[in-house]
């Protein structure tokens, strides 16, 4: 009846895990309790859970990412504490299995449930308005993607309380991840968390690919698209091409584990090298999937805060394309030490290094954008500068690792750990923080507090440096990754330094939490009445903050790169049209939520061999899809009068901003108080 699930599955004996479970339970009870107390269930359901609005879906993605960032970071702190205290003669406070769950969970969560939702969330918030669209091409599918991602995340959360998580590392190398070596539910939780959220991501890829190619405002040719949209487009092409490879690799591993197939097993004709190849055929493009949108954010931020056009727009676009293309041709560099012969290693090594060329060009272009600019050191720009300085180190060590002769020496060591954190933290995470602080006022209507933002930036930058530079040294000392304890006394001081660095990062994260709270408290003072708090260049800043449900009352017409900047320069940016027309928008639907719930139930059932539950979950998903496929009435109309009411309110706010003396960038050399020469604002 309950498969292999019994009360023994709950790790009562592990105090740390039980503490975490209790904490999770308390947070859950408080959330449910306060929603009930405030009577907000209806609001939550109607406005958020069933919403197909890309802006709300984006926010929900980012909430998920921040929850997992906290969890993944706690794992990191625990690992640092363990390694600092588990030197010669000591065993630290964690048993090896728990440590293995930590490094597996940390990697899985940080890549799949922090980096990915951050990227998809920010793309959701920024891309449709950047191309002058009212929504994505498939709003309902967007909701499915979101809830599939949540279902995957929930499985990871569930693994904490019921059963355990995988011990096989975030890459889950077979045959260690196969049933004979790893029969517990951990690997299954890992598989289904990735599988379910991965399918959601594939759908996101299809959705945004079509959105960007088909839903652009009139006049926005491909070569006039904002650079962030370009990186999003290329990223989504990569998602559509790469994620199915993960689906297949995980599917085969599932068949091996559940039904005794022999894809990757040690004997019986299985081929363990095939797993590694298939995993990295997805895994390497995935690295660029999480980095390219960050590059896009840096480009937008650099141009905006240097108050200058982005240098080499075309070069940036081509460089992104080249990186994307090459990223599919380098996967072997993850296993130079598999014995495949010098010629193959050389070919993959050189293709890896060649990626350094377009990446280097991008960095030079950002520098050239700063050259002869007027740089405002607001939070997004600080993250960008931190990125350029630190990422260059990561790029250098990346080129070193790309040389097989060096890789033979430092593969599987802390040097490798230092390298990929050195590209992913300053690259992806700083990029997403830059995007978060940059687009936050657009999503919520008020800016994030600068002071706390600066503190967070310094916490992360200094903390990162102190935490990860020692790992390069440890790598050169031959310390392998994933060590729960060790006997070499020379490593201990460096590990203490690294642990201290993690504490500085903790300070940075704490500042971000405080920043959010302080900003909510001071939201009136930080309010963005104009919709253009930074002197933006692209169309999303032409909307109010937060935008109306329909984004644009009238779809703008685009004449060049930096469409909004051009409108401001020509004085057409704030003209209220004489009349509005009806707007058709997609209706909310619970189907996405139900499909996500079905996916969670299905995954849980398969993990624990509770087949009736799995079938129930599967049928729920199937029934929702069929029900939805038979529904024709999926849109509703916002009448022109309602649009006029909302827009009148917006223009009243703009006038208020003018009175308040908010400055608005008119795109010319100087800046002038709002309303100064913005005669278009008052058509009457």
């Amino acid at each position: 009846m309950l498969g292999r699930l019994s009360l023994d599955a709950i790790p009562y004996d592990n105090g740390i895990i039980m503490f975490a479970v209790a904490l999770m339970a308390i947070v859950g009870v408080v959330a449910v309790g306060s929603t009930t107390y405030l009577g907000k269930w209806g609001y939550l359901y109607k406005e958020w859970l069933t919403s197909v609005d890309h802006k709300k879906i984006g926010i929900m993605y980012i909430i998920l990412a921040f929850v997992f960032l906290l969890r993944g970071f706690v794992d990191a702190l625990m690992m640092r504490a363990q390694q600092a205290t588990a030197g010669p003669g000591h065993s630290g406070y964690l048993p090896p299995e728990h440590f293995a769950e930590l490094f597996t969970g940390h990697g899985t969560m940080m890549i799949l449930f922090v980096a990915m939702p951050l990227i998809i969330g920010i793309i959701n918030i920024a891309v449709p308005p950047q191309i002058g669209a009212r929504d994505v091409a498939f709003p309902f599918m967007n909701s499915i993607s979101l809830w599939l991602t949540y279902a995957g995340g929930l499985l990871i959360m569930a693994s904490l309380a019921v059963g355990q998580f995988s011990t096989a590392g975030w890459t889950g190398y077979a045959p260690f991840s196969e049933y004979p070596a790893n029969p517990s539910t951990g690997v299954d939780y890992w598989i289904w968390a990735l599988q379910i959220s991965g399918i959601g991501t594939t759908l996101t890829g299809i959705n945004f690919l079509v959105t960007i190619l088909r839903e652009r405002a009139p006049g926005m040719t491909l070569m006039r698209m904002p650079i962030f949209t370009w990186t999003a487009l290329i990223t989504m092409i990569m998602v559509v091409l790469a994620f199915p490879a993960l689906t297949v690799a995980l599917g085969m591993l599932t068949l091996d584990r559940l039904f005794d197939f022999h894809f990757f097993t040690g004997g019986m004709g299985g081929n363990q090298m095939m797993y590694i190849n298939m995993f990295w055929i997805w895994g390497h493009p995935e690295v660029y999937i999480v980095i390219l949108p960050a590059f896009g954010v840096f480009s937008e931020v650099t141009a905006t805060f240097c108050n200058k056009r982005l240098f080499g727009y075309r070069t940036m676009v081509y460089a992104t394309m080249v990186i994307a293309l090459l990223s599919f041709t380098v996967w072997v560099h993850h296993f130079f030490t598999m014995g495949q012969g010098p010629l193959r290693n050389t070919v993959f090594a050189i293709s890896t290094m060649v990626i350094g060329i377009p990446t280097g060009v991008k960095i030079y272009n950002w520098m050239a954008t700063m050259f002869r600019g007027r740089i405002e050191f607001k939070q997004p720009m600080l993250w960008t500068l931190g990125f350029i300085l630190l990422f260059t180190v990561g790029g250098m060590t990346g080129v070193m690792l790309a040389i097989p002769g060096i890789d033979y020496k430092v593969h599987n060591s802390e040097f490798l750990v230092a390298h990929f954190h050195n590209v992913l933290i300053p690259g992806t995470i700083f990029g997403m923080f830059a995007g978060y602080t940059y687009w936050f006022p657009k999503a919520f209507g008020f800016r994030l507090d600068e002071q706390w933002g600066r503190r967070a930036f310094w916490g992360w930058t200094i903390g990162f440096t102190v935490a990860f530079m020692p790992l390069y040294v440890l790598g050169a000392m031959g310390m392998p990754r994933r060590m729960v304890s060790y006997s070499n006394p020379a490593w201990t001081p460096w590990l203490w330094v690294a642990a201290f660095g993690a504490l500085i990062v903790l300070y940075g994260i704490a500042c971000q939490v405080v920043q959010l709270l302080v900003s909510i408290k001071n939201r009136d003072r930080l309010a963005d009445l104009t919709g253009d708090p930074w002197g933006g260049r692209t169309l999303e800043w032409a909307m109010s903050s937060p935008p109306a449900e329909y984004n644009f009352a009238v779809i703008p017409t685009v004449h060049g790169i930096d469409a909004f900047m051009e409108m401001k320069e020509q004085g057409t940016a704030y003209q209220q049209p004489a009349e509005y027309s009806d707007i058709h928008m997609p209706k909310s639907t619970p189907a996405g939520l139900v499909i996500g719930a079905g996916a969670f139930v299905f995954g849980f059932g398969v993990i624990w061999w509770i087949w009736w539950l799995a079938i129930l979950g599967g049928l729920t998903m199937l029934a929702s899809v069929i029900w939805r496929a038979c529904t024709d009435d999926v849109e509703f109309t916002i009448p022109a009068a309602e649009v006029k009411r909302v827009e009148d309110e917006r223009f009243r706010k703009l006038a208020l901003a003018g009175q308040r003396g908010d400055v608005i960038d008119t795109g010319s050399r100087g800046r002038m108080p709002f309303g100064g020469d913005m005669t278009g604002l008052h058509p009457g």
């Binding site: 598999m338 050239a368 954008t369 006997s487």
Partner: protein, 272 residues
């Protein structure tokens, strides 16, 4: 300083790799220093409050500059690419290493949970968790795994290579100093991963001869039954010697994964 295994090496391969690391690091500085210093300079020079600095809000293209921006990295990668081509062929772990008037010592290494078995077919001896190597003599390792995927590595000696069940990989080493060096599996393989390590002892020819004698004197025969016993997950404290050893043990282990029998050594009780 000795703890910096990447630089303080005791083997010929390691010394070669050290040189490669140094050259690459220096080349990379040609990128790193300009980027960091110019970024900091631009950030300071073109700060908003500096009204003296020139401001060109529309300047966004320059063919000449683009040539340099693409050209610079292309030149550096071309140099590194050439270096890679040469060094990868030279440092291929499958290359046998030449040494004056010394035939290589053949070693068959079998990875287990959580220990290594080293077989010396030329001498009909074997040892668990001790790899004895006569100094200045090429060592030719043939590896396989009788468990999950593992990776052998002696940081002070040279390269790392995977060992996988049903397959044979190779690694060649040439110790240039005597000493007792740490060797271990670098690929996570479960509970015993962290505490598993073996002694890689580089010794003089005389010491090696007496090492062989000591192993031969152990009197423990390594036949099929004893081998099966040995493969059970365990973490032996000391070193165990065997002699005589079942001939062609490595092939025997590899072949077991190619028969149709469902026997599969990669079976272990639950991790928890």
């Amino acid at each position: 300083m000795q703890s910096l295994t990447a630089f303080y090496t005791a083997g010929a391969v390691g010394a070669d790799e050290r040189g490669l690391i140094a050259i690459t690091a220096v080349l990379m500085l040609f990128v790193f220093i300009p980027v960091v210093s110019l970024t900091l300079f631009f950030a300071w020079r073109y700060r908003e409050s500096n009204a003296e600095a020139r401001y060109s809000p529309k300047w966004s293209h320059s063919n000449l500059l683009e040539v340099f921006l693409w050209g610079g990295p292309i030149v550096i990668i071309a140099i590194l690419g050439t270096l890679t081509w040469i060094s990868t062929h030279r440092l291929d772990p499958y290359n046998s290493l030449a040494s004056e008037n010394q035939d290589p010592v053949q070693v068959e290494a079998i990875a287990m949970d959580w220990k290594w078995l080293f077989v010396y077919p030329q001498y009909n001896v074997a040892a668990v968790n001790e790899l004895a190597m006569p100094v200045n003599t090429p060592i030719s390792l043939h590896l396989t795994s009788d468990t999950v995927m593992t990776a052998i590595m002696i940081p002070r000696m040279g390269s790392q290579i995977y060992a996988m069940s049903g397959m044979r990989t190779q690694l060649h080493l040439l110790p240039t100093q005597t000493g007792d060096f740490m060797g271990k599996n670098y690929q996570y393989n479960g509970r015993g991963f962290a505490s598993e390590r073996f002694h890689a002892r580089s010794m003089t020819d005389e010491q090696f001869k007496s090492w062989i004698k000591k192993a031969k004197a152990s009197g423990q025969r390594l036949d099929e039954a004893r081998y099966a016993e040995l493969t059970k997950p365990s973490q032996p404290e000391g070193v165990t010697y065997f002699s005589p050893v079942k001939p062609h043990l490595l092939n025997y282990v590899i072949k077991q994964y190619h028969t149709g029998s469902p026997r599969n050594r990669i079976t272990r009780t639950a991790e928890r």
